[in-house]
């Protein structure tokens, strides 16, 4: 985590007391208020997406660029009918000075953990249909690589990255491949010549992170019979980097709008009562629904822009109406 960033005691106290009063440092009025989401799709390419979180004043706090590239490779021997999918995300010195340029391979940072969370969120839940990526069984499959570039980092990385991943997966088109006699005849890389094929996204999982701020010292928390102190902890979503540094526990939940948990992780941190965990998972659901509709809307708007002149080419006319 952020090494060189350090908060002084006054600031620590201030942020915590703000949180206790249901206020946030960046001007948000509630602990469960997210920052504004802005999804920009590059109009010249497919699967090239910028997602940013905006503070209430409208300045960018976290910005992620997501890009998908595709390649034709030979499948793994164990899975001849499946393409491959791979998420790559490194946070380097461009994002902020606290991040090291050369990452050590032996240990995992929280960001590495989040990236892994994202990758398995998409892969293990079959959100991306890998079998659809097969061109010739055992010979040629598509290899989809997703690159996340974190341009600005002020917390909310997991949400931002998962939105960016799913938007670009939904938006990306791979070229149409013509197969003749078990051989690739032609790959239509020019998408103007022949329209590409969308990836098979079966459901849209969105990750949400809850940060827990437990004021009680741990021994009291564990030793006390828990009935006496219900809900002493504060739970905030979409935390900024300063809030994240003060938080002493986190819960990562990925859901889709079909009321399914795709992934749920509480990696250590302060203990949380089980009913609270349930509450959090249920709390994430409306947010996920909200985000999903935003993603779909952004894609729809982009689609209509691209097909600006579609009506000119259409054979439809008034006579068919009646």
């Amino acid at each position: 985590m952020a090494k060189e960033l350090e908060l002084n005691n006054t600031e620590k106290k201030f942020i915590l007391s703000l949180l206790a009063q249901n206020q946030r440092l960046d001007g948000r009025k509630s602990l469960i208020e997210t920052r504004n989401l802005d999804i920009k799709i590059n109009p010249d390419a497919y699967g090239d997406v910028y997602v940013s979180l905006l503070t209430p004043e409208g300045s960018v706090s976290t910005r992620v660029h997501c890009k998908i590239t595709a390649d034709i490779v030979k499948p793994k021997d164990k899975r001849p009918f499946e393409g491959s999918f791979y998420v790559n995300c490194e946070i380097n010195g461009l994002t902020g000075l606290q991040f090291e340029n050369y990452s050590k391979p032996n240990s995992m940072s929280s960001e590495g953990y989040y990236t892994r969370f994202l990758e398995s969120m998409i892969l293990r839940s079959n959100a991306l249909d890998l079998e659809q990526l097969c061109i010739i069984a055992g010979e040629k499959v598509w290899d989809i690589r997703l690159d996340l570039h974190v341009l600005e980092y002020d917390g909310g990385f997991l949400e931002c990255a998962s939105i960016a991943c799913l938007t670009s997966l939904l938006h990306f088109k791979r070229p149409y491949v013509e197969v003749q006699n078990e051989k690739i005849h032609k790959v239509y890389t020019d998408l103007d010549e022949r329209d590409g094929v969308n990836l098979g996204v079966l459901h849209i999982p969105i990750a949400v992170k809850f940060n827990i701020f437990q004021q009680l010292p741990t021994e009291e928390l564990i030793k006390q019979s828990n009935n006496t102190n219900p809900g002493k902890e504060l739970v905030a979503i979409d935390c900024t980097i300063k809030e994240e540094m003060l938080s002493n526990g986190e819960v990562l939940v990925a859901l889709n709008k079909n009321r399914e948990i795709v992934q749920l992780d509480k990696p250590g941190g302060v203990p949380l009562q089980s009913y609270k965990l349930l509450e959090l998972a249920n709390m994430a659901l409306p947010m996920v629904e909200n985000i999903t509709s935003k993603i779909l809307k952004a894609i729809e708007i982009d689609e209509s822009k691209r097909n600006e002149y579609a009506y000119l080419l259409s054979a439809e006319n008034d006579r068919y109406d009646g």
């Binding site: 590059n42 390419a45 497919y46 090239d48 300045s59 660029h65 890009k67 590239t69 595709a70 390649d71 034709i72 790559n88 490194e90 380097n92 010195g93 461009l94 994002t95 902020g96 000075l97 340029n101 690589r145 690159d147 570039h149 341009l151 600005e152 980092y153 070229p175 790959v187 890389t189 020019d190």
Partner: protein
């Protein structure tokens, strides 16, 4: 054609987003910083360049070569004596390259060369503006050009070629990256020249001429941009 946005990353001292017709990079400069012990030079500043490719895990050999070229060129541009025992960190993230999406599916041996030259060219220009944004002392200005000579012996400026298809239809014979040092608003030296492919002596002269003309033209824009930036940043207005 070229769009430049400076001060895009607020976490760093200086940054720039540089978009040409076919490529897009974002660069950041932080410095002077306290370096690690092994990077510390007694009389001058260390310069660390780090380039991340648009896709895949980097920096690979392709990026390391670019990093080296950049670092040596920057060494003679930055007033390194001004920041002894300190580090100037230059980061570049390539956001888009024309060969990204399906470039690897076409087997043209020139693709790999052209794609890294395009990145390098954009990085050079973007880093220049980032350095200015970061208030790093520079000895002189520079501007980078990228030209190709096709089989009809025409000199073509690659930064203006828009689509991948037209880029591939160029049938390059040789490709030249030229970085000019600019002093007192005049081109003084060649800072870096990197040519690949087969070409004659006359071709080089032709490319240098074209690049000189282009630099004069483009640098006017950059200069006015810097002027504007300095004016905006100058907060002690009366």
């Amino acid at each position: 054609m070229v769009s430049i946005k400076y001060s895009v990353l607020k976490n760093l001292d200086g940054s720039c987003e540089y978009t040409t017709a076919n490529s897009k990079v974002i660069t950041g400069v932080s410095g002077p910083l306290e370096p690690k012990q092994r990077h510390r030079l007694p009389l001058q500043s260390a310069i660390e360049v780090f380039i991340k490719p648009s896709h895949g895990v980097g920096p690979s050999t392709r990026e390391v070569l670019m990093q080296d070229k950049l670092a040596t060129a920057l060494q003679s541009i930055i007033v390194t004596e001004k920041y002894p025992r300190e580090l100037i960190q230059v980061n570049a993230q390539i956001l888009s390259n024309p060969f990204d999406s399906f470039g690897s599916l076409q087997n043209d041996p020139f693709n790999e060369i052209v794609s890294s030259m395009i990145d390098l060219n954009s990085c050079f220009n973007s880093i220049f503006l980032s350095l200015i944004d970061a208030n790093i002392a520079l000895k002189s200005c520079y501007f980078s050009n990228l030209f190709t000579i096709n089989d009809k012996n025409q000199v073509i400026n690659i930064t203006n070629v828009e689509s991948l298809e037209s880029l591939q239809s160029l049938s390059h014979k040789s490709i030249h990256l030229l970085v000019f040092e600019i002093e007192e608003n005049k081109i003084s030296n060649i800072l870096l020249m990197d040519s690949k492919g087969t070409f004659h002596d006359d071709d080089i002269i032709k490319v240098i001429d074209a690049a000189q003309a282009n630099t004069e033209l483009e640098f006017k824009n950059i200069r006015s941009l810097i002027k504007e930036k300095v004016k905006d940043d100058y907060i002690w207005k009366v």
